[in-house]
């Protein structure tokens, strides 16, 4: 881990140089990735460090987003604060709503907590369409960024740097927070709340505070989001936002500090890249999540860190060759599965079904070949690749197990 600071510096340098390296559409994706990373970090504080699983974090993200838009519109469009400081408004609103919601949800722990957070988010979502003055009804609330401090905030570059500075600052603050006594107590809350109470700590107040801090950072992420698109609609309160942050954070790994951020950024990146290629990205996201939960319970980053910290003792070459063999066989299986899902999606899509006339099923183009849906070929191709990949993975796993046994 001695290279960690260096790696961090390089990453920050690349992030700063990014506007000169990539296209506008990619830079737009980068803004989304940064926001998703910050949101996931806020979630990770609550879920990874304090062990409280929230299924309703969209509420605080959304509250922050709306607060920022209203702050931008305040004083006839002058803005409550100069544009670069507007995320503070989102953070403050997130903090207050987090204190309120945290008071109720941390009354219970474990699965109850999870259910209450979900219900609170749904409460806000059900209420929002009726409160037109605050949430703007169907159309939402829109605004525009005012120039401040000699910066125009009109171009994408300005928005990118604004988001970058805030995201890095907040992640830094979250790191420092994890080192404060309150941050250490969060770990205690996760590991053994009973014992904390026995030591004289008020676990309800502690839980509420940590919940509020997490909601505050979620609010900042929400504010950045609405400042980026210069609008907010009650769609940001919908459950799929809460779902996405849970999936992203756990795919990255919530127990390692930067795990959620990397998970959020990577999944948002793939979502952006594949949005033109597939219509069922969310399905893939769900499947990846279930697979990660089943086979890599620490998450992708968590597993990586664990492997680096505790090498298998087989030597670098051996480890690398096993890893490559696993990845290659997984890639074959994944290609087979993706082929099947995409083919199925195309066969089932309404446009295709409209084209079917009395038993005449036109061919479907997929991966630059035409496939007849009624023939065995496409199904056998997908299933075959999937089966071969799984068989190869099993084989590699058996070999590794056999080698371990021989050593012992």
């Amino acid at each position: 881990m001695k290279y960690a600071p260096l790696l961090l510096l390089v990453t920050v340098a690349v992030l700063i140089a990014l506007p000169w390296l990539v296209s506008g559409s990619m830079l737009n994706a980068a803004v989304q990735m940064l926001i998703a990373a910050l949101f996931a970090m806020a979630f990770g504080l609550l879920c990874g460090q304090a062990g409280m699983l929230s299924f309703g974090h969209a509420a605080y993200f959304g509250v922050g987003a709306f607060a920022a838009v209203h702050a931008m519109n305040a004083f006839g469009g002058e803005g409550l604060l100069p544009t670069p400081l507007l995320p503070l408004v989102g953070g403050a609103t997130g903090l207050v709503s987090g204190l309120l919601a945290g008071y109720f949800s941390t009354k219970r722990t474990g699965v109850y907590f999870a259910m209450i957070t979900l219900a609170l988010a749904e409460l806000l979502h059900a209420l929002a369409p009726h409160l037109k003055t605050v949430f703007g009804g169907e159309a939402g609330v829109s605004s525009f960024r005012m120039p401040a401090w000699g910066i125009g905030f009109g171009s994408l570059n300005d928005v990118y740097f604004l988001t970058l500075v805030w995201t890095l600052l907040c992640i830094g603050l979250l790191y420092l927070f994890s080192k404060t006594p309150l941050g250490r107590l969060a770990l205690g809350l996760r590991e053994n709340a009973h014992r904390l109470r026995f030591l004289g700590y008020n676990t309800h107040a502690l839980g509420t505070l940590i919940f509020a801090v997490s909601a505050m950072f979620a609010g900042i992420a929400g504010a950045l989001q609405s400042m980026n698109i210069e609008a907010a609609n009650y769609v940001v309160l919908e459950s799929h936002i809460s779902t996405a942050v849970v999936l992203n954070s756990f795919i990255g790994g919530v127990r390692v500090f930067l795990g959620p951020a990397i998970g959020g950024a990577v999944m948002t990146f793939f979502g952006h890249v594949t949005s033109d290629l597939t219509r069922v990205w969310l399905l893939y996201q769900g499947i990846i999540f279930v697979l990660v939960m089943m086979f890599l319970p620490r998450g992708l980053v968590g597993e990586l860190v664990e492997r680096i910290r505790n090498p298998s003792g087989e030597g670098f070459a051996r480890t690398l060759s096993t890893l490559l063999a696993r990845l290659a066989s997984l890639a074959i299986a994944a290609f087979g599965a993706v082929f099947l899902i995409e083919f199925l999606q195309r066969v089932l899509s309404p446009e295709y079904r409209a084209g079917v006339t009395d038993g005449n099923w036109p061919d479907i183009a997929l991966f630059s070949y035409d496939w007849a849906p009624l023939s065995v070929l496409p199904w056998a191709f997908g299933l075959g690749l999937f089966g071969i990949g799984i068989a190869l993975v099993t084989m590699v796993n058996r070999r590794v197990a056999a080698r371990k046994e021989a050593q012992a």
Partner: protein
């Protein structure tokens, strides 16, 4: 008066439906300690399976076959996914079922599209049971309530009067002891999970025809079921029953009510102020109906955090 009677009846039947789903959830939680997030997805699967089977087999066979199919899905989930992650703890099991609920919802969207499908009450069941002051009461509602009641009596008798029931109940309290006595506890778990899923599937198959069948129905009902479970106390059948009825009835009473908070304030001379503030104070109860269960939940959390009939943590 008649309106209130209708609302009470509707609420009771909706409550029974909620109970049908939350009973399985509570049973599974009590037994395996797993909060099955995908439970409401089984409800949705039941509705879609029945919708698909209906043209092939007719309505009656469809609502019998759909729960059996859902039971199959439930057993597969328990055997190949939940058992695999059991060693990582309960939080992990909850997360996996959460992921499954996402996967199921997305698959449904892929196969049936994003919008509601045309799953309707069959014509032979679509008639009025009785009418009060000129308003017909649909027979199908009574039919749903009847199925739910029959289901509970069957489960109650199964759990209390049969040998299988004794094994199941003892496996909840002392799984190791039951295993030592030679019963196959993992098998019992699988069976309970399957039955719970089938119950949710049956509720979906029956209710999907009356309410709408769309890819959002799992989330909408799932949230209600969670509220029921928090209000009633997880693991308590009686609590689940009471909370289901409470939420069902308040919900349907609120839908038909024009009451506003501003009206109360008028009595103490603050009506004008309330009208000025607007927002929550001037909203009609009917438009707040969807949020009422959540307020009940918050109230219960403040007054009695362990739920109406739950045990203290």
């Amino acid at each position: 008066m008649d309106q209130i009677l209708f609302a009470l009846l509707n609420g009771t039947i909706y409550g029974l439906l909620l109970f049908m789903v939350s009973a399985g959830l509570t049973l599974i939680f009590g037994m395996m300690g797993v909060l099955n997030f995908a439970h409401a997805s089984f409800y949705m699967l039941g509705a879609y399976f029945a919708y698909t089977l209906q043209p092939l087999t007719g309505f009656w066979l469809a609502i019998i076959l759909a729960p059996i199919l859902v039971m199959g899905v439930g057993i597969l989930v328990e055997r190949f996914i939940l058992r695999h992650v059991h060693e990582h703890g309960h939080a992990h099991e909850l997360l996996v079922t959460f992921g499954l609920s996402v996967v199921i919802a997305e698959m449904i969207k892929m196969v049936y599209g994003k919008f509601a499908v045309d799953y309707r009450v069959p014509a032979e069941l679509n008639f009025a049971a009785f009418s009060l002051s000129g308003i017909d009461y649909p027979f199908y509602r009574l039919f749903m309530g009847g199925i739910a009641v029959v289901m509970f009596i069957a489960i109650y008798l199964l759990l209390t009067k049969t040998r299988v029931g004794i094994v199941v109940r003892s496996a909840i309290y002392r799984p190791q002891m039951v295993e030592a006595l030679g019963h196959n506890v993992p098998m019992v778990f699988m069976g309970v999970f399957g039955i719970g899923a089938a119950l949710a599937g049956l509720a979906g198959a029956v209710a999907g025809a009356f309410y709408t069948t769309n890819p959002n129905m799992a989330l909408e009902l799932g949230v209600m079921v969670f509220v029921v479970v928090v209000v009633g106390g997880l693991g308590s059948m009686g609590g689940a029953m009471a909370a289901s009825l409470l939420i069902g009835i308040t919900n349907s009473l609120a839908v038909g009510s024009d009451f506003r908070i501003a009206d109360i304030l008028t009595w103490i001379g603050m009506g004008g102020w309330a009208e000025e503030i607007g927002g929550l104070l001037t909203m009609r109860m009917s438009s707040l109906a969807a949020t009422l269960p959540f307020f009940i939940m918050l109230l219960v959390l403040v007054l009695r955090p362990s739920g109406l009939m739950g045990e203290k943590e």
